[in-house]
């Protein structure tokens, strides 16, 4: 753990780039797909050939608007695209089509839960649309660089937060919360490994010293390919900033801003080569695309795409179904799980056991339809089949057969032994076989009952209901 020096605050701002899952690219009709052979998903427009023109993808704008609506952003009345200029081989036009002074949306917030368990709103600064660039593949052996433009023109949403994230743990929570909303809206895969969610956090410390605040330089960290690495990189940066302060004292405030990368093998950040001159992107309004005014139609279309969001759903699961906060949270992390839970309950299963079975997971459960799963949960709850036997034998059978579960129970011989005389017979045999245990129970040592129960269960091949066995044993032992 970081040794805490006197009074400092961590300020982390997050810049997230999210690839939207649209059928086609942002400004042309090429498909958006990961993993196709290089340069097979390209056309004159995304290659930036002379004479080609961009036409904005309406679906991408609706997806981005729905995301902005979910975050509670203020949607722009009027928006436009701008050109951001720089030279790089994977940039096909010498500029990226982005948005500068009239972003799609401003404001809004992402709600997280802090380590202390408190809800906290991280405010958003802006959300805008831009196009992705191609990929440079550097081959160190040959010294050659290869370019793949399949990704060029993929729609991206950039989400910029205020620097209100106060710890590496909060940074992780922020990204998880953002990803949950993204998944709920089904606007992106949100996968950091595949690069369809990329984040560049910036971090610095405010150190309070005798009424003054010393600010360490703002550092942006790049090359982060997992939420875990974001958290680690932030920990390393905080450590490094504190060390800088210990060495330099107040002069730490004079250090320039910088950009660092993260080495996840050595668990350390390293300085990225700074460009010699500050970038002047020479933004100006994209003359090929007229400004867009968002009327009621756009807003309604975007709003209709926003489902009940994770926070609200968690709260509803607790109150409406009586689930623990923990279970509600687990169920709501992925929209598909929460949807499935509600479908199983709608099919007649009692909520709590349904939640338990779903969270227990397993391939067989995943293969059952909600109605089948409800049927299963009900049989177990009614005591028609023992829990263990149900999980071990009945589930796989149900997954491969359409026959009613009751028939399968019979077919597998799993029906609970409910015949009272049979149970009494088995219980008598158990008491006879374990006289010491029987004596102990009679003397009030309840623990000894286990040995007797085990004996009965073995005789019935596990098909007896534990409750029934227990009550029969206790009845018999009360007899003189």
């Amino acid at each position: 753990m970081t040794p805490t020096p006197p009074d400092h605050r961590v300020l982390i701002g997050m810049e997230v780039h999210l690839q939207l899952r649209t059928a086609s690219k942002m400004f042309c009709g090429c498909p958006v797909r990961f993993g196709a052979p290089p340069n097979t998903l390209v056309c004159p427009v995304c290659l930036g050939l002379p004479g080609s023109l961009p036409v904005p993808n309406r679906d991408a704008i609706v997806l981005a608007l729905s995301l902005a609506t979910a975050f509670g952003c203020d949607l722009a009345e009027r928006t436009k695209f701008d050109r951001k200029h720089y030279f790089y081989p994977d940039l096909t036009k010498g500029y990226q089509i982005s948005q500068y002074d009239l972003p799609l949306a401003k404001g809004g917030a992402i709600e997280i839960v802090t380590e202390g368990g408190e809800a906290k709103r991280i405010r958003l600064r802006r959300l805008h649309i831009e196009e992705d660039v191609g990929k440079s593949l550097h081959d160190d052996a040959s010294g050659l660089s290869r370019l793949d433009f399949n990704r060029a023109g993929t729609p991206l949403v950039e989400i910029v937060s205020e620097p209100e994230i106060a710890s590496p743990e909060e940074a992780r929570a922020y990204l998880n919360a953002l990803r949950a909303v993204v998944q709920y809206l089904d606007v992106s895969d949100g996968n950091m490994q595949e690069g369809n969610l990329r984040c560049e956090p910036n971090v610095n410390l405010h150190i309070d010293r005798g009424g003054r605040t010393i600010k360490t330089p703002i550092i942006e960290v790049k090359n982060l390919n997992s939420v875990r690495n974001v958290e680690r990189a932030m920990q390393q940066e905080i450590e490094r900033h504190l060390e800088l302060w210990r060495t330099l004292g107040d002069r730490v405030a004079d250090l320039p801003r910088g950009t660092r990368g993260f080495d996840d093998v050595r668990d350390t950040t390293f300085e990225l080569r700074e460009k010699e001159e500050a970038h002047d992107y020479r933004y100006f309004p994209e003359p090929d695309i007229p400004p867009i005014t968002f009327g009621a139609t756009w807003r309604a279309e975007a709003g209709a795409r926003v489902p009940e969001l994770p926070d609200a759903r968690r709260r509803r699961f607790s109150t409406a179904y009586g689930l623990t906060a923990y279970d509600a949270d687990l169920l709501c992390r992925e929209r598909a799980t929460a949807d499935r839970f509600e479908a199983v309950v709608a099919a007649g299963a009692p909520p709590k056991p349904a939640a338990n079975w779903l969270l227990a997971g397993g391939a067989d459960i995943a293969r059952l339809s909600p109605a089948r799963l409800a049927e299963f949960v009900n049989l177990v709850e009614q005591g028609r089949v023992a829990r263990q036997a149900a999980a071990r034998d009945l589930l796989p059978r149900m997954a491969e057969s359409d026959s009613p579960a009751a028939e399968l129970i019979a077919e597998l011989g799993l029906a609970q032994v409910e015949d009272a005389s049979l149970l009494r017979e088995a219980a008598r045999r158990a008491i006879a076989a374990e006289p010491q245990a029987a004596r102990d129970v009679r003397d009030g040592k309840q623990k000894a009952l286990g040995a007797l129960m085990g004996h009965v269960m073995r005789q019935t091949g596990g098909k007896a209901s534990p409750q029934a066995v227990r009550s029969v044993l206790l009845d018999l032992l009360k007899e003189p």
Binding site: P50, G51, S52, L53, V55, Y95, P287, D288, P290
Partner: protein, 489 residues
Amino acid sequence: MTALHELGAAALAAKVRAREVTALEVAEAHLERAQRLNAHLNAFLHLDAEAVRREARLLDRRLAGGDEAGPLAGVPVAIKDNISVAGSPTTCASRILAPYVAPYDADVVERLRAAGAIPFGKTNLDEFAMGSSTENSAFGPTRNPHDLAHTPGGSSGGSAAAVASGLVPLAIGSDTGGSIRQPAAFCGIVGLKPTYGLVSRYGLVAFASSLDQIGPFARNVEDAQLLLSVLAGHDARDATSSPRGFAATGGEAPTSLSGLRIGVPEECFAEGLAPEVRAAVGAAIASLSRLGAEIIDVKLPLTRLGIPVYYIVAPSEASSNLARYDGVRYGLRGAGEGVHGLFAATRGEGFGREVKRRILLGTFALSSGYYEAYYGRAQRVRAAMRNEVDEVFRCVDLLASPTTPTVAFRLGEKSEDPLAMYLNDVLTVHANLCGVPAISLPCGRSTHGLPIGLHLTGPRFGEASLLRAARAYEGASGEGHRWPPEPTS
């Protein structure tokens, strides 16, 4: 009998449709002439005779098979070399694109093919359409067919010279600040810049995106109208393309313009206008008046800001549009150390002086800290200019003025003085900045025998009344295209 190359487009298409002549015969007649005269004019940068014949034969087979003949059946149309034709070089008269072959057809080229036209070679221009004389071509200047020592104007000088000397009956060009109308005036033919958005820019290599429009060249107004009706129409690939189309209304030239109000902006007759031009345009306006048009003096004070605004907006957009030429994906690749060395070498070797000058101007104007003072301010003045002209079009239907302050100047006369060259656009940039349509048509000649252009401007999407007035003037005045002397070697 009239030689095929002397016929206009409408007449040629009629003959091909009537099967009086084959598309191949039309093509051969023009190929013979183009191959013979291009040595003097340098109007064509590329002319693939076999490709032309192939297209003509294909059309002939289709017509023989009973396919419906389009409005431009068998008509050769030359294409400015900044417009993409699949499989053809599209160099923009620049070294940087010398090795580039376009893999796709521009929207206008698709429309030409669908109308039965035969794409006929790629014509010379000022590099990336930046210039007013075609002298900025990396492949040598085009010459004015009326006097080979003079420029044909620019930037679409190749297209204008080719049409004027009968190498083709029709050509298309692009007009960013006068690049169709000024060479049309200098070469004594008809050239029209349509309303911004009427013709798709898809496939036109961008110079200044908010100003560029593709338009027709022809030797008479009817042909220009015919070609425009083929070029115009909505294109989903151009987000600035208008849903409005343009339908040609053929028939006889109108003999009366009664009820038409024509404004004459005093700012367009200011000092610097050559006396011969002033006299010829004055006579043309008198002729319009005799046709029944009401002539009204109007004021457009912001016109005087046209050149400064244009020379901020156009280079700014150009500096951005030309950023893609980096030697990485296509075109020339210079030899330099590392990625930035490659960019610098490619652009250093690939671009000519005028293009570099404009990239520098535009890069400066868009720089952080200067944007508001230059580009932002220029756009505000531009908006005011639009309002001003909209206001004037409440009182008049069209505007009449000269196309250029002088007739065609001599080759080399202004090439060392960029500012003098820029001032040549003083009367034409206004239509681009305001997005309105304008046409130049012949209205007389100088004592030296060089053509003079009458410039008519209409409100946005006012092409029909613009063309109607132009046809009436052409019919009544007897002015029009004159055949230049045959060059002798």
